[in-house]
Every structure is written in structure tokens, then in C-alpha cells.
Amino acid sequence: MSAAPLLQGASRATGTAEPAFVRLLLVGIALTFLALFLFTPLAFVFVQALRKGMGVYLAAISEPDAVDAIRLTLLVAAIAVPLNLVFGIAAAWTIAKFTFPGKNVLVTLIDVPFSVSPVVSGLIYVLIFGLQGWFGGWLQEHDVKVIFAVPGIVLATIFVTFPFVARELIPLMQAQGTEQEEAATVLGAGGWQTFFRVTLPNVKWGLLYGVILCNARAMGEFGAVSVVSGHIRGATNTLPLHVEILYNEYQFAAAFAVASLLALLALVTLALKYVVERRTGRHLQPQERELP
């Protein structure tokens, strides 16, 4: 680096760098590909949402069905995310701080929901709680609705967002080892004290990262929720399902208006993710983020 810039320039042109036209061509191909498949669809959502003016836009996102969908989406995320957060912490603590047989199997099992199709994720809860399912008869006798009701939506959402927090925390806690916690214990700290004063501050950014991704998926899940929801307006309609209903009724401006709320959520998610990545100075491997 500190060598003469002239020399560096010369080596760039011949030895370890591509000719300028190749570089330009590759940048051009990459940006064209991303523009076609990423940027244009994103822009299209907002253009279509505002096509009929601000009035139509605001009406679409403030009509009662839309407000109910927003409320349900927030409620589902507010239940699913904390539950998976607690699980993620428990799993990461167990896996990262202790050795026990079968640990690798456990880590693989935690990842399983990412490889299951969303449709199948919904279906398995129908098989258990649906009318013909294992507990269908019992639930009907006691007048409890799980499928085509909010509990089913919550369960399906928990399933599809299950691994997010655990996946973030396990490699992070493993890398940090156990010395600090052992020191705290030796100095007389109790278990919870050690966790809240030592472990948690060490992993807070990874934790936040996992929660952000978990929340985005919880609010945006479509396939799994669609199977268990029954699409009852004002009762079991989440935001993504509301988008589908409006779209299928050819209310395109309204569908894109509601969709733009979800697109905004995605942009906020990416921005937060970017901030956390800068803070931690790391580049996450995809195997640490969302899997299929």
C-alpha cells in the first residue's frame, strides 16, 4: 500500500486487476441485474400506491379492515417475537456455554423450520388443531378455536420465525467462551445476575439483530399464515393477507398502498440491520441469517 502510487497503478493495469472496460462491464451487468430484479419492484410498489393520489392512499390504509389487519399483525408479532427471543436465549446459553452429547443434532433441529415450506408450516398445525386433527374434536367440544382464528396465526408465525434469535446468538456466544461468566460466578454472582450483567451486555447487538429479522418475518409472513387464517376480514386478516384480498378484488391502488406499509417495514429493517452490522463491524454469513 505504501509503495509508490505509480507502481501500484502499473500493477493494477496488468497483474492483479482487470482492464478498465472489463471493470465497467461487470459493474454495468451487476447494477442492471439488481435494477431489474430489486430496485424496480421496490419503486413500483410506492409508485402504484400513490398513483391515485394521497387521498386514496390514506383512505386505503385507514379504512377499518386495514386498521384491523395492522392491529392483528402487531399483536401476532408482539406474541411471537418475545417467545422466540426467550427460546433463543435459553437455547444459545445451553448450546454455547455447556458441552453435552447430541449438541450438533440439536443445532440442526433448531434450523429445521427454515427449510420447511411456509405452506407445510401452516398445514402441520391444521393437522393437529383443525377439525379433523388430533385435538379437533376436543377443541370443538370446549368451544376453543385455534385454526381459522388468532391462536393458529400466532402458532404458524412462531414456527416460521423460530430459529432467528437462536441462530444469531449461538455462534456469537460460542465465540465469546465461558471465562467471563465463570469469573462472575466465582466472584459470587448468581445465575441471573451473571446473565444480565455479563452475558447480555456482550451479546446485545447480536440479540437486536436477531429480533429485527424475526420481527420482519413475523409481520410479513404470508404462506403459513394464509393456510391457518381462513381469511376472515376484520378478524383473522393480517397485513399480507389483506394485500392479497385487495389485489384479488382488483383494488390495485389500495393493495399497493397497504403493501407499501410492508415495504416500508422492510426498508426500516434493512436500515436497522445496516446500523447493527456497522456497530459490530461484521459481515454476517448467510448461514447466520435467513435460510430457506
Partner: protein, 314 residues
């Protein structure tokens, strides 16, 4: 630490020394009575193992394992010929062909362009690079239904892209080509994000050495850089493929969903479910689950290979 001088039986020392959890306990046992008054569960210093493992297994069992087993138990009630009949019916086979074919096509497109995008993001400066880098993850963050209606709108005959493509005879929306477009969108980040870190950590000395030895730029890419990237590239390909085979939300809007032509397997599961054919839906779901688990094992093996290849190069 020299254990033999501490007056502890040699066997025990060896046992203790192999397990990092024992290190602290040993120090204290040896020094004196510091931990004698504390109950030692299994010799572990840190608390919470029982609670943590218990809760992890309970939650995993209730949310994931028991519900998933329901699909297999339900299908196990079928006789083998009945199962085969359901999962090899012509309409179902047509859906496999579309789902796996389009997933393979989309993963291939993403492998080629993902490599170029990763290369450009790591190697070349250009304006707006950070923004572009952050936006590559958009398909992970954007709800699939939103992606679905946006792509459909763009590629419909009157849409921004469709208006150009339709006159030259290319129909995308409501055809199998639309499935390919949607699956390309949702699989886009995988190859970029698997290749990018490997490329970042690739020592430039390797290419410098190749250049010194007289290799052309293309030769040193093909013979030096590309072999190091191969495992990561294949991992990204497999991840994109696996994600695409299960995808539902972004596809159903653009596919047109015509039986035998543009109907994907996940949609067929939903169709059967809506006809109250739980047995049929579950049998097809089991086929999808088995395929997904096989892919998961393949991906795990590829990731091990990636790490090994990367480790060998650095």
C-alpha cells in the same frame, strides 16, 4: 499448568483437562475449599444447564418436532400404493417439474449474476455502493406477498416491463416464466452473501503470485480464485434452490396457477386443503419435507467444505 505437582490423581486431571467447563472448578478444588460448600451439579461451574436444556427441548418439541411428526404420522396411515398414487398423479408430477425446474433455473441465474454482484461489491469502487450492498438483502426483508404483486404488476402485459416484452412475443406474467422471475427475486441474496465474505478474505497475494508467475488475469481468476470460491458458490446455489422449492407467496400472484402448466407444488397442497382432502395435501407435503431435509443435509455438507477450502487458502 503442570497438574502432577498439585497432588491430584493423574486420571482425574486428564478428565478435567479435556473439558473446558471443568477448568475453573479444578482450580478451586485444588486450591482449597472454595467450592466445597457449593453443590456441584455434574461438575459444571455455570448454572442454568438443566433449565436451559429443558426449556429448549420442550419448546422445540412443542412448536417444531411434534407438529412436523403429525405430517408423517398422518401419511403413515396410508398404504404404500395409495401414497404412491397420490404423489405421482399427473397433476402432481407436473407441479414437481415446474417447481424444481424453475427453482433450478432461478438458482442458476442467481449463481451467475450473484457471483458478478459479489465480485463488483468486493473489488470495485462505484458511487452508491453501500446503498446497493444494503439493498441486496431486500428479498429477505420484503414480505413475499408484496414482492408477488409488484413483480406481477411489472410483468403484466400493461406493466413497465410487460409493455416492452409483450410486443416481442415474450409473456412472463401468468406463465411458467413468471414463476422463474419470482423465484429469481427471492433467491437473489443467497449467492451474493455466501460468496462475498470468502472473496473479502481471499489474500491478494495469491493473485499477485499467479501474475508474477506469468498468468494472465483470466487464468489467475479461473485457476486460482474460482476454485476457492466454488464451495461458497455451490452453497449459495443450494440455499437459493432450497428456498425456491418451498416458496409460495411471491409465486402465486404471477404464476397464473393453471393446473398442469403453471401450478407449483406448494399451491397444490393448499388447493387440496381447500377441498378438504387432508390426506392428499399431507402426502404431497411429506414429499416436500423429505426433499427439504435432503437439501438441508447437502447444504450442511457444502458449508463444511466451504470452511475447509477457505481455511486451506488462508
Amino acid at each position: 499448568m503442570n497438574t502432577s505437582t498439585m497432588g491430584v490423581p493423574a486420571d482425574e486431571c486428564r478428565n478435567l483437562a479435556t473439558d473446558p467447563n471443568f477448568r475453573m472448578a479444578r482450580a478451586f478444588d485444588v486450591e482449597g475449599a472454595a467450592v466445597l460448600d457449593r453443590p456441584r451439579t455434574n461438575g459444571r461451574v455455570l448454572p442454568g444447564f438443566g433449565l436451559g436444556l429443558g426449556y429448549t427441548l420442550l419448546y422445540l418439541g412443542l412448536i417444531v418436532l411434534i407438529p412436523l411428526s403429525a405430517a408423517f404420522i398422518k401419511t403413515a396411515q396410508l398404504t404404500w400404493p395409495a401414497f404412491v398414487d397420490i404423489v405421482t398423479a399427473p397433476r402432481v408430477v407436473a407441479s414437481y417439474r415446474l417447481t424444481f425446474g424453475a427453482s433450478l433455473g432461478a438458482a442458476t441465474i442467481n449463481m451467475v449474476f450473484g457471483l458478478i454482484v459479489a465480485w463488483v461489491l468486493v473489488r470495485y469502487p462505484f458511487p452508491g455502493k453501500r446503498l446497493v450492498d444494503a439493498l441486496v438483502d431486500l428479498p429477505f426483508a420484503l414480505p413475499t406477498a408484496v414482492a408477488g404483486i409488484a413483480l406481477t404488476g411489472l410483468f403484466a402485459p400493461t406493466g413497465w416491463f410487460g409493455a416492452w416484452l409483450t410486443p416481442i412475443g415474450i409473456k412472463v406474467a401468468f406463465t411458467p416464466l413468471g414463476v422463474l422471475v419470482a423465484l429469481t427475486f427471492i433467491g437473489l441474496p443467497f449467492v451474493v452473501r455466501t460468496v462475498q465474505p470468502v472473496l473479502e478474505e481471499l489474500p491478494r497475494e495469491l493473485e499477485e503470485a499467479a501474475a508474477t508467475l506469468g498468468a494472465s488475469r483470466w487464468q489467475s481468476f479461473r485457476r486460482v480464485v474460482f476454485p476457492i470460491l466454488t464451495p461458497a458458490l455451490l452453497t449459495g446455489f443450494a440455499l437459493a434452490f432450497a428456498r425456491a422449492t418451498g416458496e409460495y407467496g411471491s409465486v402465486i400472484f404471477i404464476a397464473g396457477n393453471m393446473p398442469m402448466v403453471s401450478e407449483i407444488t406448494p399451491l397444490l397442497v393448499i388447493t387440496k386443503l381447500e377441498q378438504y382432502d387432508y390426506t392428499g395435501a399431507t402426502a404431497i407435503a411429506v414429499v416436500m419435507l423429505v426433499a427439504a431435509f435432503a437439501l438441508l443435509l447437502l447444504i450442511n455438507a457444502l458449508q463444511v467444505w466451504t470452511r475447509r477450502r477457505q481455511g486451506a487458502s488462508v
